[in-house]
């Protein structure tokens, strides 16, 4: 990766790739190919992609440490914001389309249905993380930033619990997410030196985790 243009091209490609699921959803939606229960299909699609991006974001640091590809660090924030965007779409579909702003039912559901309680809480939790994701905020918050942003694991866990509790019997997909999340979490407890087979340069300064 040499030269600014090269880096920019890569960055643009990654961003466009992150938008692909949304483009696919839009094409299928406009083509009437979302099946007989399209609202549910949109909810499932955006929710699953939100969780997927969350897991990808959490994988950035472990992958960077194992491979020594430190340039990956620059993708953590945009990937996290894409996760937030998909989760927000997921929430808005439920709030504004599925429930059609029926506040009474929405309130009841949030209070009475544990899977919705957990899902809603996880969404709320992601808001401050998205707001404080800018570099200036990282500097301003210092050490507290890392503490705050470790909450992303809680949000991911909440998302998976939300997924499991909403399923009727087939838990195969949520189980896959849960396993990946556990692996990523475990990796965080692996001592840094042993997790770094290649020698890391002095530039590999401790960055806020995650």
């Amino acid at each position: 990766m040499s030269g600014r243009t090269g880096q920019r091209a890569v960055r643009l490609t990654v961003y466009l790739a992150c938008l692909l699921p949304l483009v696919r959803l839009a094409i299928n939606g406009l083509g009437g190919r979302l099946g007989p229960e399209p609202i549910r299909a949109v909810e499932l699609f955006t929710g699953t992609w939100g969780l997927t991006f969350l897991v990808i974001t959490l994988a950035v640091t472990p992958v960077r440490r194992v491979t020594g590809w430190n340039w990956l660090a620059g993708y953590r924030r945009p990937l996290g914001l894409f996760a937030f965007a998909y989760v927000t779409l997921h929430f808005l579909t439920w709030f504004g389309v599925d429930q059609f702003f029926a506040i009474r039912y929405i309130g009841q559901d949030i209070l009475k249905r544990p899977y919705i309680t957990v899902g809603f809480a996880s969404f709320l939790l992601m808001i401050p993380l998205a707001i404080t994701s800018r570099k200036a905020m990282v500097r301003r918050l210092g050490k507290r930033w890392a503490t705050l942003h470790s909450l992303v694991y809680v949000a991911a866990l909440g998302g998976i619990v939300h997924f499991v509790w909403s399923a009727k019997a087939d838990l195969s997909t949520p189980t896959v997410y849960a396993l990946i999340l556990v692996l990523l979490l475990l990796f965080r407890f692996v001592p840094r030196r042993s997790a770094r087979p290649r020698t890391a340069g002095p530039r590999d300064l401790p960055t806020p985790v995650p």
Binding site: P36, E37, F100, A169
Partner: protein, 358 residues
């Protein structure tokens, strides 16, 4: 379409068919229905004479299949949702509530499209996704087919399907179908009342329940190779429920033979209960003295009961049952007590605690 080929009832337009009307019945009911203006009842309205009901529609089987009466293109229209959604949005945006209401009434109990009924259902033997049955059941062979009649019955035996159907008059019945997951359809089944078969095989006085068993054949039902549910799928009814005239042995859909993905060649449909009570691809009907097990109750006893009557006041532990999404509609609609069949079936449960016997 040759009118001579139609039976008298079948030749009637839809609005003149026999319609049962749901009425809120005392403590059991929670349905609140806004009064509809007189304008809605105007004579040009297709369902005007009895527009609010349309809970059941029974007619004798026309000799011309419904598929020839309703142009296939109409119910194969996959885009109908998009249209319905945009109309719903327009109606909501419109200042005239009356217009929105009129539209809702007209479409109130319109049969769900053939495409949706046959491409969106739960039939775990063919996969856990709702499109899976339509994708995986195509090659399923439904002939030859035998149904075992067993248990407390005077005429047990392995009956050939043709023997089961022999002498039965196939009727078309438009039933509401409410899934425990919160979606619903209106389905024009064809079949005959289960009671006709029951009286023929003569259960003994000890028979208090009926158990229905779905085929177990992992070679033909791919998901049975996995353990998502204990196989075979079993369901059961109390004898009075099984004998109820609404309980239907289904052999067809939209005037055609029952598609594999909907439970061919023989399934039941109990319209006042959640869909999982209605077993598909039945190979055994057993009469018992004791309450039989039912699969979902075995899997999650706190979530799925034996009775599983549609009841908007008793929620599933994880989600509300007070509303449902009718497939093809934009807004959720209120769920009706006993799925709108309270007039016909509420007496079966008189004095029972429906909260406990969910």
């Amino acid at each position: 379409m040759n009118p001579r080929n139609l039976t008298r009832q079948a030749a009637q337009p839809l609005r003149q068919l026999r319609l049962y009307r749901y009425r809120p019945a005392g403590a059991l009911s929670t349905r609140r229905e806004p009064p509809r203006s007189a304008a809605v009842l105007s004579s040009h309205h297709p369902l005007a004479p009895d527009h609010r009901s349309h809970a059941v529609l029974i007619r004798r089987a026309p000799e011309v299949p419904s598929s020839e009466i309703t142009p296939e293109s109409l119910y194969l229209d996959r885009r109908s949702f998009m249209a319905a959604a945009s109309f719903a949005a327009l109606d909501l945006a419109a200042p005239s509530l009356g217009r929105a209401r009129a539209r809702r009434v007209r479409d109130d109990e319109k049969p769900t499209s053939y495409a949706s009924i046959t491409h969106y259902n739960n039939y775990y033997e063919f996969g856990t996704g709702k499109e899976d049955p339509s994708e995986n059941a195509g090659g399923f062979k439904t002939r030859p087919w035998k149904v075992e009649i067993a248990g407390e019955v005077a005429k047990p035996g392995h009956y050939d399907l043709d023997d089961i159907l022999k002498g039965q008059t196939i009727e078309e019945r438009v039933y509401r179908h409410r899934c425990v997951e919160g979606w619903s359809m209106v389905i024009p089944w064809s079949g005959f009342p289960l009671r006709n078969l029951i009286t023929r095989v003569q259960p003994t006085s000890r028979a208090r329940f009926v158990e229905f068993t779905t085929l177990y054949d992992p070679a033909r039902m791919p998901e049975q190779r996995g353990g998502v549910l204990p196989w075979p799928y079993v369901e059961g009814l109390r004898m009075d429920e099984a004998l109820h005239p609404l309980t239907l042995l289904v052999t067809g859909l939209y005037g055609r033979p029952l598609p594999n993905q909907n439970g061919a060649p023989l399934r039941i449909h109990v319209p006042w209960k959640y869909g999982f009570k209605s077993g598909k691809a039945l190979v055994r009907i057993r009469f018992t003295a004791d309450q039989p097990a039912n699969t979902w109750n075995v899997v999650a006893p706190n979530e799925y009961g034996f009775y599983a009557n549609v009841n908007p006041t008793v929620d599933h532990p994880r989600w509300s049952q007070s509303r449902e999404r009718r497939i093809g509609e934009f807004l959720r609609r209120p769920t009706l007590m006993f799925n709108g069949y309270a007039d016909q079936v509420a007496s079966l449960y008189a004095g029972m605690d429906l909260r406990r016997n969910f």
